[in-house]
């Protein structure tokens, strides 16, 4: 008799647990980003008016986006890099309408501060913990563990759409260049 009571009690408890899981799923969905937030996750940047070696800041999904048009006559010493001769030859740069551009999320990969661009030195220095990046976003000095992140992009003529992937982006991602 007591066994029977225990068994039914436990069966009910287990079934109540199942219901709690269902409620938890609904709760999880409630925390998901809203469709309107996701739909707003695209930014189109017109690059036709960009000047060389000037930092432009745009916004994409609430994050700052760095855009720099690569100077055509840059010499190796302009953009120093520990591993490469010239950061402006880096494969991380994106060609838009025949010109090369540096486009990346302007948040230090260490803890998310916004690094400042020093155009005379062709590099970024983060004021928070002293991290440095070259003009292609590669790390010059720790603590940042990885280069500045390149967002999904799609080139459309002289414009670039952020938030939408393209074969070029997928190729860079495969080569491990985007982050």
């Amino acid at each position: 008799m007591s066994d029977r009571r225990d068994f039914f009690g436990k069966a009910l408890g287990a079934f109540a647990g199942l219901g709690a899981l269902g409620a938890l799923y609904a709760a999880k969905r409630t925390w998901d980003p809203l469709p309107s937030v996701k739909a707003a996750g695209f930014t189109t940047i017109d690059l036709s008016q960009a000047k060389e070696n000037v930092l432009y800041t745009e916004m994409w999904r609430g994050k700052p986006i760095f855009v720099i048009k690569v100077p055509k006559d840059a010499v190796p010493s302009d953009a120093p890099n520990g591993r490469k001769e010239n950061a402006y030859d880096d494969k991380r740069l994106i060609t838009v309408g025949g010109d090369k551009f540096f486009i990346a999320i302007g948040l230090c990969t260490h803890l998310g501060c916004i690094p400042a661009y020093y155009s005379d030195q062709h590099k970024f220095i983060c004021a928070c913990h002293g991290g440095q990046f070259n003009a292609a976003g590669e790390v010059l000095k720790a603590p940042p563990p990885s280069p500045l992140v390149i967002p999904p992009f799609k080139v459309e003529g002289k414009k670039v759409v952020l938030g939408e992937s393209s074969p070029e982006y997928e190729k860079m991602k495969k080569a491990g260049l985007v982050a």
């Binding site: 008799m1 009571r5 009910l12 079934f15 219901g19 930014t43 745009e58």
Partner: protein, 307 residues
């Protein structure tokens, strides 16, 4: 069994209270309007047989105010200018033959004010639309023409925009009286959205003209399906004066299909969770039926041998 008797008493008084405050009280509060199935029986049947080709020739006169995209005729002016001239932007006529009742449309072409039941609003000023058909035959020709150019398939969204959207906003679907809100974003330096502000200026002008024309701003219909009963909506659209005597809302003359499409739009915007509600409901209730069954077994095992 005693508990069931007690339950019956509780249920009885609960139901009486429910009946009193819901069905009964609402039947007293809201007047009953007979639904006539979009038959427009007050209008005489039109026996003349229309000829689309003749109608096409007559329709050239329509293009002075209306666009007819299905016949590649563009709008003579933009919505704001049109509203300044007429009070409201005249509709594109591509869908008229599909969504409006044939008989209604024919009568409307002959005598717009009386057919739309807005004569009371236009005693001292002209209705912007002059009669376009002098007799049954020309009216029937025009109707035949509009029917011939109308597309086979119309989406609920298109139906709404044609029938309601030039007076009624639907902000939850980003629809304004002058079209869809453009997707813009603020300048990240000035934090101001110039493009949006320009659009809003135009909208403000349009609404201003609309208010002068209608007497007040027609309400946003985003969640009208939750704010009014289905019965109210269909009888109101069929004959606005029957529910709200003196209202400036014209009888639009939708046919059954047209109304169903419009209602579908109202529902998908105003009650978007309906499909999910219907999908989840049986699962939740099924869950609690099993839960109650298990609880019953537990209860019986605990109370066995107690009495």
């Amino acid at each position: 069994m005693k508990e069931l008797k007690i339950l019956a008493v509780v249920v009885f008084f609960t139901l009486v209270t429910y009946w009193g405050v819901e069905p009964y009280a609402h039947s007293v509060m809201h007047k009953h309007v007979e639904f006539k199935n979009f038959k427009y029986e007050d209008l005489k049947p039109i026996t003349a047989k229309g000829d689309p080709a003749k109608g096409q020739a007559l329709a050239a006169a329509c293009a002075g105010c209306h666009s007819i995209k299905a016949a590649k005729m563009p709008a003579p002016m933009d919505p704001v200018t049109a509203s300044a001239t007429y009070g409201v932007n005249p509709p594109d006529l591509s869908l008229a033959g599909k969504l409006l009742d044939e008989k209604y449309l024919a009568h409307f072409l002959k005598d717009p004010t009386h057919t739309a039941l807005v004569a009371h609003k236009f005693k001292n000023r002209p209705y912007p639309m002059p009669p376009m058909a002098t007799d049954d035959q020309s009216a029937a020709d025009l109707v035949a023409y509009f029917k011939s150019i109308a597309p086979k398939e119309v989406t609920p969204k298109e139906a709404y925009e044609f029938a309601c959207g030039r007076c009624h906003e639907m902000r939850y679907a980003k629809w304004t009286q002058i079209g869809e809100e453009p997707k813009t974003k603020p300048n990240i330096q000035t934090k101001m959205d110039e493009e949006k502000l320009k659009f809003q200026e135009k909208l403000a002008q349009y609404k201003d003209h609309l208010v002068k024309y209608m007497g007040k701003l027609p309400p946003d219909l985003s969640i009208i399906v939750r704010a009014r009963s289905e019965d109210f909506l269909k009888t109101f659209v069929e004959d606005p004066q029957s529910q709200l005597p003196g209202t400036a809302m014209p009888r639009v003359g939708l046919n059954k299909e047209g109304y169903e499409l419009v209602f579908k739009r109202l529902e998908e915007v105003g009650d978007p969770s309906k499909p999910k509600r219907e999908a989840v409901g049986p699962w939740v209730i099924g869950y609690f039926i099993i839960f109650t069954f298990l609880a019953y077994l537990w209860y019986k095992s605990n109370w066995k041998g107690l009495k």
